[in-house]
């Protein structure tokens, strides 16, 4: 079994794109959502009034469509295409920039105005605008394909101004922070006629959205994103089986006479390790960037670790089940479709995209029973109440899920690969 585990880990590790998506994307999303929605610059002190023109030449819908087309035309199998598209469905670069400026806290400092490029140039010349930000045509497509497909981005975001000013500096800094924090520097360049200032370090979005809940938005986002991507991990690893089947390695494995359960357990264990690491890394980086859980006790962290471990175990059970299903189905595209559907429904119902409270009551009740919804709820409760008694039953349920998934997976595993 050790050999299988090692092989699965190695195969995963070699797929650089997969690793980047698994590790970087959740963090990027946490940072982006956090910056975009909870505001960065409240301690900037002095009130400024920066007038900025936004020249939006990009049609993000069209860009998304084009990206989808490009992915569909690639020489990948359906499963990989779907995985890419699924992961981009939560990610829209143009909109992120727009919503950055829409943030109430940003709005106190920066006043934006949608203008055409010609108008913008004129207004800047006349001194009515400090600068304008141009989102060039094809921006969405370029960013998506640079992040997801490793292609060079040929368009860049630009800031243009007539003369150097404090306002321009602040704008540049804010934009730099924003861009740096989304880790898109590779794709974006900021151009100004004045000299660029040293970018400030990103500042943590520590403020809590007041009133609604006693957990912070940042906390919610961190938990939601890390559990969401752990769910994706179950699918990613199960889909490796498709490759193994297609490339006939699975047949070769059967010919060695090794016990099929070793194969299944290797996959299960690999998923456990990888999703556990993924969640832990996401939490750690999020904590370092934003101090998501300030001044928490050791007991809190241990509790958190227990929930994460139980959840990762459930995820690994899911992979076992998915793997067996894949081996049973002739049509692997159907398998990947089914898994996407299951994962996405779990994510929606479990509150990984929006807090579960906005769903109708009966869906909420179902959502609380999904492993991810359960984990999310338990962690949020743990943050607020810190009552270890609350952990026991949910952990039992998660473990139960693991056992049930694993058993089902073993039960339908095709014994000797004959048909």
């Amino acid at each position: 079994m050790g050999s299988f585990l090692k092989k699965d880990l190695l195969v995963f590790w070699r797929d650089r794109k997969e690793v980047l998506i698994a590790l970087l994307l959740p963090i990027i999303l946490i940072v982006v959502l956090n910056v975009a929605l909870s505001g960065l610059f409240t301690d900037d002190g002095e009130s400024m009034d920066i007038q900025v023109g936004i020249v939006e030449e990009d049609n993000s819908l069209e860009g998304l469509e084009r990206f989808e087309e490009a992915v569909n035309e690639m020489d990948l199998d359906q499963a990989e295409k779907e995985a890419i598209l699924q992961q981009t469905s939560v990610f829209n670069p143009s909109e992120m920039i727009i919503s950055f400026f829409d943030n109430p806290e940003i709005k106190q400092v920066i006043h934006t105005k949608n203008v055409s490029e010609a108008e913008a140039v004129e207004l800047v010349e006349e001194g009515d605008l400090h600068a304008f930000v141009r989102i060039p045509e094809g921006f969405t497509y370029a960013i998506l394909s640079s992040i997801m497909l490793d292609e060079e981005a040929d368009v860049a975001l630009s800031i243009q101004a007539e003369e150097q000013s404090n306002e321009l500096n602040t704008l540049q800094n804010m934009m730099n922070n924003f861009i740096e924090s989304i880790n898109l520097e590779l794709a974006l360049g900021t151009i100004a006629e004045g000299e660029a200032q040293e970018p400030l370090l990103p500042q943590g979005g520590r403020e809590v959205i007041e009133g609604v809940e006693t957990y912070s938005f940042t906390q919610y986002i961190t938990i939601a994103m890390s559990t969401l991507f752990a769910l994706f991990m179950a699918q990613t690893l199960a889909m490796k089986t498709v490759t193994e089947k297609r490339e006939r390695v699975f047949n070769r494995i059967i010919l060695t006479g090794s016990h099929p359960f070793h194969y299944l357990m290797g996959k299960t264990l690999a998923t456990f390790i990888l999703s556990w690491l993924q969640i832990i890394i996401t939490f750690t980086i999020s904590q370092l960037l934003f101090d998501v859980f300030p001044d928490k006790s050791l007991e809190f962290w241990i509790g958190l670790l227990i929930v994460i471990t139980a959840f990762a175990l459930t995820i690994s059970g899911l992979t076992a089940l998915f793997t067996s299903i894949t081996l049973n189905l002739q049509d692997t595209n159907a398998a990947s479709g089914i898994f996407s559907l299951i994962i996405m429904s779990m994510a929606v119902l479990g509150g990984n995209f929006t807090p579960i409270q906005i769903l109708p009551a009966f869906l909420q009740r179902i959502g609380e029973w999904t492993p991810n919804g359960l984990s999310l709820t338990v962690i949020l409760e743990w943050i607020q109440l810190n009552n270890s008694g609350n952990l026991v039953i949910p952990m039992g349920i998660l473990f139960g899920y693991f056992i049930v998934f694993l058993m089902l997976g073993m039960a339908i595993f095709p014994g000797r690969g004959r048909n």
């Binding site: 092989k7 190695l10 195969v11 070699r14 070769r252 060695t256 006479g257």
Partner: protein, 310 residues
């Protein structure tokens, strides 16, 4: 040592393999020839326990392997038609993984990996990822992976398809050496008659799921002892001449070749004078003619009505 008894496989309606009887004696090197879709790979899958036969049996040393395939898996090395390797892993890592799950002893495995790499001539490229290899190199690793556990019987399913002549030669040499030097029993599937002629003592010819002929080279050639082949060089091409020759009673087949035509006729029918007459009639000279010995290729054509590679 290994035999199939009325081995059959039906997919839905289609009979892919139809009551095949085959045997392999220890140390033999046997060829399995057949056009596309003849059922070669399906036969191999059943022999190697990957596919359950619809009926019939596969016996190893007299014991059925259908119920309990673990014995045959131990002694069998299978080189599948497709490359069955992890593209993202290096040649070495692939071999290490398969060696471990073949349960090659830890202290032997390292030596064994180097041995098989040496055999297929990839020792100095072992650290490179399989996906960066050429088709020929992948094929060679594909073979190496089947040799790790020192199988007694090696089954190769078209191991030289679509690769460069150099890799092809290397593979043929390797298989020949394994058979001659280590006494490994070989079942070699191919589209290439000359490979099988070079490697194998015995040949099975399959078509439409059935064995249509089998035996040593000379036995197979004797199938054609009822035919004469005449190679004729003509002053120019002529369709009417072709037709009139085809119309002769003793003629079985006429094929166009680069220089002229090849006429296959009933043995001893002595059609030469008829041919000369026919040519004179349409004012064409016979520049040169030659009686030809039949080749296995001709046998194949005779049996299946197809050339090997179409």
């Amino acid at each position: 040592m290994l035999e199939t008894i009325k081995l059959s496989k039906t997919f839905k309606e289609k009979k892919a393999v139809d009551e095949i009887d085959m045997y392999l004696d220890e140390g033999e090197s046997v060829g399995l020839l057949g056009p596309n879709g003849a059922g070669k790979s399906t036969t191999i899958s059943m022999i190697s326990s990957l596919l359950k036969p619809t009926s019939g049996d596969v016996k190893l040393n007299g014991k059925s392997t259908i119920k309990n395939p673990s014995e045959i898996r131990k002694v069998l090395g299978v080189v599948p038609q497709e490359i069955a390797l992890y593209e993202e892993l290096s040649a070495y890592e692939n071999l290490k993984f398969f060696g471990k799950i073949y349960k090659v002893k830890k202290e032997l495995l390292e030596i064994r990996i180097q041995e098989v790499l040496e055999m297929v001539g990839l020792k100095d490229r072992q650290k490179e990822l399989v996906k960066t290899f050429s088709g020929g190199m992948k094929r060679r690793v594909n073979i190496a992976a089947a040799l790790l556990h020192k199988p007694k019987i090696l089954i190769l399913d078209e191991p030289t398809v679509g690769i460069d002549p150099q890799s092809r030669n290397h593979i043929l040499e390797t298989v020949k050496k394994l058979n001659e030097e280590t006494g490994m029993t070989i079942l070699y599937t191919s589209h290439y008659m000359e490979e099988v002629e070079q490697l194998c003592n015995r040949v099975y010819i399959m078509d439409h799921g059935r064995v249509v002929a089998s035996g040593s080279k000379s036995e197979l050639l004797s199938i054609l002892s009822t035919e004469d082949t005449i190679q004729i060089q003509l002053s120019k091409k002529s369709y009417p001449l072709l037709e009139s020759i085809k119309g002769m009673e003793a003629v079985r087949r006429v094929e166009e070749t680069n220089e002229g035509i090849r006429v296959i006729s009933k043995k001893g029918s002595n059609i030469l004078s008829d041919l000369v007459h026919a040519a004179e009639k349409v004012d064409i000279q016979i520049i040169h003619f030659q009686m030809e010995d039949p080749s296995l290729e001709d046998v194949f054509l005779h049996l299946t009505g197809k050339t090997l590679r179409d």
